[in-house]
Symmetry: C2
Subunit: 340 residues, 2 copies
């Protein structure tokens, strides 16, 4: 390994001077700097992270702890977003996947401490409350896609209520008046929030919110798993005397089954029925025919915002540190909704 001393010897200067060049200390003569830089290049010198970290007693690494961000495809974009932000901060990412096991979590908090990480992001697969307990970790923690019920850490979450509002309002603006809803499991926070959004949009336009037009697309089995029953649920909706002209779906998977149910009744999308998804999983939205209009979960932005917030908490960048940041869920228009 090439060390600072090696470079110094080669350049005929002291190690400290090389250190100054490496760290862009302005108090170095231009000629010296150039000579040393040249030698650094030539010798492929890379400063030893461990030594630097030890001396400075903090590292340029941020820990990211997740329950199982891979389970829902695309929530992994939280990781990508975080990575993108960290790159700009010239930081790197130590990642820990705990499968939600508190024992593993504790272990990894220790690992983070051992690595003296500059802070941590705790990301979850679903938007939900978490209780971190009192992790053995003294640096800043930011929650991503989850929030602390006890408000003990600041959090970055998707604006599900706004997303629900967007879904409903877009359809209302297209002229729809009878709008069915095939929702996610009612225990999910997202379902509650989006429901609030629907109602706001309905109320704004003087529409009556008819509870019988909202049916669950997933049901919970006794064993805790979930069954997707959107096909039958939407069939029920579409067979009603006064059937809806549009259906809002709790996610894009539900939309797949709504398409199938409509097809089985000889209805075509969007001529006979407008369909609106949620999540904007391109693997589905681009695959359905016609391509599905959906409201996106801004995972990438959530990850990015989380690391930005972390930098603020650590005082490395300017700006306020709000206890919670809501990231908007943008509407992505494609071809499954039409004016009536």
């Amino acid at each position: 390994m090439v060390t600072l001393k090696d470079v110094a010897r080669e350049a005929g200067v002291s190690p400290k001077t090389v250190s100054r060049v490496v760290n862009d200390d302005p108090a170095v003569n231009v000629k010296t700097r150039e000579a040393v830089s040249e030698i650094i290049q030539r010798m492929h010198y890379v400063p030893d992270h461990a030594a630097r970290m030890m001396r400075m007693s903090h590292s340029s690494v941020v820990g990211v702890m997740t329950d199982a961000v891979a389970t829902t495809p695309y929530s992994v974009d939280i990781i990508r977003g975080a990575q993108s932000g960290l790159r700009e901060q010239a930081r790197t990412m130590l990642i820990a996947n705990t499968d939600g096991d508190p024992k593993q979590e504790n272990e990894y908090w220790k690992v983070f401490r051992a690595h003296k990480v500059a802070g941590a992001v705790y990301a979850t697969t679903y938007h939900r409350p978490v209780d971190l307990g009192a992790p053995d970790f003294e640096r800043g923690i930011v929650l991503a896609n989850c929030y602390s019920a006890r408000r003990s850490h600041c959090s970055v979450v998707p604006d599900d209520e706004g997303g629900g509002y967007m879904q409903a309002r877009h359809l209302i603006e297209l002229g729809h008046r009878r709008i069915g809803i095939v929702s996610l499991s009612p225990v999910l926070r997202a379902t509650v929030l989006r429901g609030a959004g629907y109602r706001t949009a309905f109320a704004e336009s003087g529409l009556f919110y008819d509870p019988s037009l909202e049916v669950p697309g997933f049901v919970t089995r006794p064993d805790g798993g979930e069954d997707l029953v959107a096909y039958d649920a939407s069939l029920g909706l579409l067979r009603r005397a006064e059937s809806p002209t549009a259906i809002i779906c709790g996610n894009d998977q539900i939309a797949v089954q709504v398409y199938a149910a409509a097809a089985s009744l000889g209805l075509s999308v969007p001529e006979d029925l407008s369909v609106m998804g949620f999540d904007d999983m391109t693997i589905i939205t681009h695959t359905l025919k016609p391509m599905l209009t959906s409201v996106a979960l801004p995972y990438f932005e959530i990850g990015r915002t989380a690391v930005d917030l972390l930098a603020r908490i650590n005082g490395e960048s300017e700006g306020p540190v709000p206890p919670q940041v809501l990231v908007p869920c943008p509407l992505v228009e494609r071809h499954s909704c039409r004016q009536i």
Copy 2:
């Protein structure tokens, strides 16, 4: 920060003895060990990774570099698999997402060097050849989901040929004789390999491979993007005089459109048409009605195998170091294929 010395002072022993306890050195009296352990617990002492790494001049971190493992959902399982293996090795993971940009890659190879990572896994989104050039990195590198055309690094890749063989053979065993294929873009290595698999299965059973029954489900646009045209492609197949009784799909997205095309012709799956997917993306396979039989891409296993291989390269575990490991693609039976 609590240091080794603090613990030593508190316990009335030398720092070296504490170090021995931390590292499970057997040459410590049981009573001493217990006393020291107790104090370590009480003081929440965590050994400083940086200091240890500096002294030992290697770290317990493995670098994982990816182009954009998040793009295809589930290929992120490579990361989960790697993590799972590393956990057993008591290692952690430094992750770098380069978006395939060689400049970023070079930057991150340096970061890996600076961190003295024990080795690196280079993972890609699609199964493809890569040319790493000569990265400025002296530790072991294992390729995951990609391979070196110049055989300069060892690799772990899915057995696409075997997967194609499984798809075809399963349908043949169910009695199908006219089998259509809606494939991926022909430029993909996966397409070529699976094609070989189909042919092997056909030949084994004395079936004639009819090229007119194979049509592409994706076409490449002039701008390099891909359009999913499986709907029309499969319509063409199904409208033929002697239409196929089963369709093999290049991936699960294609299967979605095959289902739709079949529905539009009044054909139902699997009664009138058996459909076989590839990739086993549960978000699709569990969503389609009936649920889709598919061949899984073993991303998790690929990630795990890659870090196991890395440990072998580094001599930390026993076993041979083959230049390439093929991970089988298992068939996952659901309800979209039936006996005829």
